[in-house]
Symmetry: C2
Subunit: 319 residues, 2 copies
């Protein structure tokens, strides 16, 4: 049983009377009458980040991955709380200085402000981030419509390449290493896209667990299928380069998670305005597939029209 099924089975009953919980079936809590959007996420060393050798980068990764939950719903994050559990070494004065400096930079970049938190002693390092935004409208999951186009922002796979370089599974030159590792720690988030996203997206999610895994969550309660084209799934020039140099396979990179790109669906009539917005804001937005009838099978098609499977469906916190 994975996290998703586990939450549904044991906890959804506890939130039944409370509409704002969205049946625990979204990444956020949304109370329309109070204009309140909240997301809570926990990050454990060794599971959600490799190690704490670069606290200044780990902090950026977890802050971005947290506010990404709110941004992908079309809402600007405003406040955050950080709770850290760790030992003396993790929270040494030198590390605390680095953490504070990074938080300051992220606050400026994303216009967010620290509201509180907690530091407790533990031998295992972990952080819980609570993020708040304010809006009377958000983009939900499970609101895709038949024949919606499926879109994704930015590029996929860079973060997974970075993780594997850090794990010394690939050996690349200094420039490529710098590029991929920075994508692992500092995914691009598109704060300025939120208002437009609200206007054209029917349904949205951020890609944390992996393209396929998150797409299936996006439509989990709907009787639909999807069709994706591998050729349309956006990857960076650097990833293209590495894949060709190392004779690797694109399909093994695009559904591994930790991308923090926005996956959304929109009516095909929105195609032009989405293209315009993309050009105007300078944000790459790619059409990668379509929402289809549940009578069809889910399909991912390669450049030759051949059906393939993206073996790794992303990360799931299994118990």
């Amino acid at each position: 049983m994975n996290e998703f099924q586990l939450i549904r089975k044991y906890f959804s009953n506890l939130s039944k009377s409370n509409k704002a919980s969205l049946n625990l079936n979204d990444d956020v809590f949304f109370d329309k009458s109070k204009r309140l959007v909240i997301s809570v996420d926990t990050y454990v060393e060794g599971t959600h980040f490799l190690n704490f050798r670069k606290p200044e980068l780990v902090i950026k990764k977890i802050i971005r991955s947290s506010i990404s939950d709110i941004i992908c719903k079309g809402v600007k994050p405003k406040f955050y709380f950080i709770s850290g559990s760790g030992n003396k070494k993790s929270f040494s004065y030198s590390n605390l200085s680095k953490i504070t400096k990074s938080l300051k930079q992220e606050q400026k970049k994303y216009n967010i402000s620290l509201c509180g938190g907690d530091t407790v002693f533990s031998n295992k390092l972990s952080f819980t981030i609570t993020t708040l935004g304010f809006s009377n409208k958000i983009i939900l999951r499970n609101n895709t419509k038949l024949n919606d186009d499926i879109y994704v922002t930015g590029n996929l796979g860079d973060s997974f390449a970075g993780l594997n370089i850090l794990k010394k599974k690939f050996n690349v030159n200094k420039n490529l290493k710098k590029y991929f590792v920075s994508k692992y720690y500092m995914p691009n988030l598109y704060l300025k896209l939120t208002d437009d996203l609200l206007s054209f997206a029917n349904s949205s999610i951020d890609i944390s667990d992996g393209l396929i895994s998150d797409l299936e969550k996006l439509i989990n309660k709907q009787k639909f299928s999807y069709k994706l084209e591998l050729g349309s799934i956006p990857i960076s020039k650097n990833l293209k380069k590495m894949i060709s140099l190392k004779r690797l396979n694109k399909k093994n990179f695009v559904s591994q998670g930790d991308d923090y790109q926005i996956l959304f669906t929109a009516n095909s009539s929105k195609s032009r305005i989405i293209k315009k917005t993309s050009n105007f804001l300078g944000i790459k937005i790619s059409k990668i597939g379509k929402i289809c009838s549940h009578l069809l099978d889910n399909e991912i098609i390669d450049q030759k029209g051949k059906k393939i499977s993206l073996k790794n469906k992303g990360y799931s916190h299994k118990f």
Copy 2:
């Protein structure tokens, strides 16, 4: 450097522009314009609770200790988020059933509702609870006035006795064990006191770290001293009994923390209405001392008028 100084030194700068953070000098975040009160707390096995052999009780303890932060500010908690990090054993189906059952009972008892959360894998068990309430007014720390009376709700020391019985440091009969252990896991919270508290308290805090430690936090930025009378500090009949049976010393029990009673100050003109409220609601409220000029020393006086010190000033999460 303790948690308190640590937070102040490294993080208060990050919340400067944000009035609602209360300079990170309170247990809650309060945004008056949005009527929003939030508290975030992390609980680690071995530090904040002894072990997870009784998940159904541990969950009650951490839920109560979390909502206590909001209740002591004169606000009713409404929503909560729970994030658990743990292994397969901690989150076995049997434990999840027990956790869910306890959450359901607490929801009913305190009129709160689950809004979301996260479950992640970790070898070290910990929980982070985010609690929300809604109010346009709260009782702050650092708002005591010269000559304010100092009050505390309920009894102190029962939880500490329970902890020591669980640790097998005291051996008591079955009934006493049951009583103290239940106080350790399930402190009484006074939800129905919130509105009255708002009307008469100048300043308040809940006692989690210990009477003296929390009293000093309550007035940490103010130039005041305090005078307490040991004889007036309320303890239960059962604790009195155990202390006399075992020839223990009251002063070693009343400032050890984990009491989750409300410590507040009020003008002496409120004395009558506080007594009336206490009688009407059936909630024990004891006057235990006075806020004095900073020219005097902090003083704790025993029944014979002799100055004593409460050696243990409570728990501080030192790094």
